[in-house]
Symmetry: C2
Subunit: 264 residues, 2 copies
DNA sequence: AGACTAGGTGAATCGAATT
DNA sequence: GAATTCGATTCACCTAGTC
């Protein structure tokens, strides 16, 4: 039996009412979201497990994420992660659950950005709407040709961001015009997680939030969203399952913070 | 009453068995597809009406395409087109119909590329699969910032290509590696239809077909697919509803052909 | 140079059920 | 009981740009 680890509500309240730049919880995403109060965050930016690798159900469920997403001759090792083995219906149901909790926890008008790949893109648009969010568009992360080439096919060169808002988006939000395509090659030096996103990509994407916003990421992974949020002057609250990944996140966030404070 | 105009099967057979570079039919898409024999085309590349403009059903159904997709202060006028007023379920059903006919008409292993915008992307992936095609990916057309900027939002900067194949795609197809993102700004000088695509975009996209292929476009619009196919050395067969648009297509195709033959 | 890439395929292998 | 079939699983290899 794993010890059930619930978030400390006083800690969370302290973060929400205080000035701390970030709060990180190590444990289950739904339990964590459940312990957050209503309408307490200004934006949601997250990169959940896609559950999309593998041709057969058994390939998805029995293989580790490393086996699914990494080439066999690659030497570098990343930490495996859980929650990547749902089938289509399960993925929709699960996404709808955490998206509905995010909706409750978000302030009216708050934007949401959810990463996905081409295989789960339609399901993700359904799930966002099932979670009561107003779906507003699809932005693209162009990895350039730093993806695996394929003879006779269009390369799987993009991942996508399904984005929307909690109800109406005021026209006078203090946010500029944002692009719809973000072009950033995959660099292994800037990759701290098997499915990690480039930090510059996340720095661009968090700009959807208004200055001073609290940004929520329920799937922190290696913490790139939190790091980008801190660097860009936002406050961030996140959650990650595995303790190994959580340590990585905490160290990266503290580093980003030290850099920011040192740079003043 | 409109006169019902059915395609001449002998003309089609002549095209399919002969050497003519293109064949264009003016009339209803489903009737046209119905008169094509099984397994006669090598690829399908098409840009159907999206039926996505307008927030309400009445905006979609009662406004002309010019009113929906053109800014009020634009001086240039395009020909209005029909078939752009379906609701979500109707769009799915209608797409599934013509996609299933395309499937019948395509040779085994033939690739298909269907353009769509972000709103209809999930429905289009459903429709492609409903039409028996194997869905293989999403490629993106990046219009760059030549789209309308949006304050506080991600720009709707991409249109998408849902692509797939009729069953298995042999690994040894005589086609190189293709990108997954096509970056081409919208230039009004290169726009012959309200929703027309840049010719260079289409020249890139038709490369999914093997050399010498017959490419089918059941929604020729202003004929950019046909022109691109001819220019790139493929043969093309297409259909367009309005006679005004059909004339535009025929003239552009003949021009492209003359240019190609003159350039020899 | 050499390693890397939220891939994809078909051949080889292994296991269980069937003939 | 040996042979055969089918399915599931594993494995090796292709691709080209970027760092």
């Amino acid at each position: 039996m794993f010890p059930v680890h619930l978030p400390d509500i006083r800690e969370i309240t302290n973060f929400l009412t205080g000035e701390d730049p970030f709060f990180l919880f190590s444990g289950d995403c739904l339990g964590f979201l459940h312990s957050l109060p209503d309408s307490c965050v200004d934006a949601v930016v997250t990169d959940p497990p896609y559950s999309s690798g593998g041709r057969t159900s058994s390939e998805r469920t029995t293989r580790s994420t490393t086996a699914k997403y990494q080439q066999s001759d690659t030497k570098r090792k990343y930490v495996d992660f859980d929650g990547d083995s749902r089938d289509q219906r399960g993925y929709l149901a699960w996404c709808a659950l955490w998206l509905a909790e995010c909706y409750r926890v978000a302030k009216p008008g708050a934007p949401i950005v959810v990463f996905t790949d081409w295989r789960q893109l339609p399901i993700t648009t359904d799930a966002v709407q099932a979670g009561s969010w107003t779906w507003r568009g699809i932005a693209a992360w162009d990895k350039t040709r730093s993806c695996r080439p394929q003879r006779g096919r269009f390369a799987a060169q993009c991942e996508f961001m399904v984005w929307g808002s909690k109800g109406a988006m005021p026209a006078d939000r203090n946010v500029g015009t944002l692009p719809g395509v973000f072009t950033h090659p995959v660099k292994s030096a800037d990759k701290h997680h098997l499915t990690g996103k480039p930090s510059r990509l996340m720095s661009d994407v968090v700009q959807i939030a208004e200055p001073g916003a609290i940004i929520l990421d329920p799937f922190a992974g290696s913490g790139t969203t939190l790091v980008a949020a801190i660097e860009q002057g936002y406050r961030a609250i996140g959650c990650e399952w595995g303790s190994e990944n959580t340590d990585i996140v905490r160290n990266r966030a503290l580093e980003a913070l030290a850099l920011k404070n040192g740079g003043r």
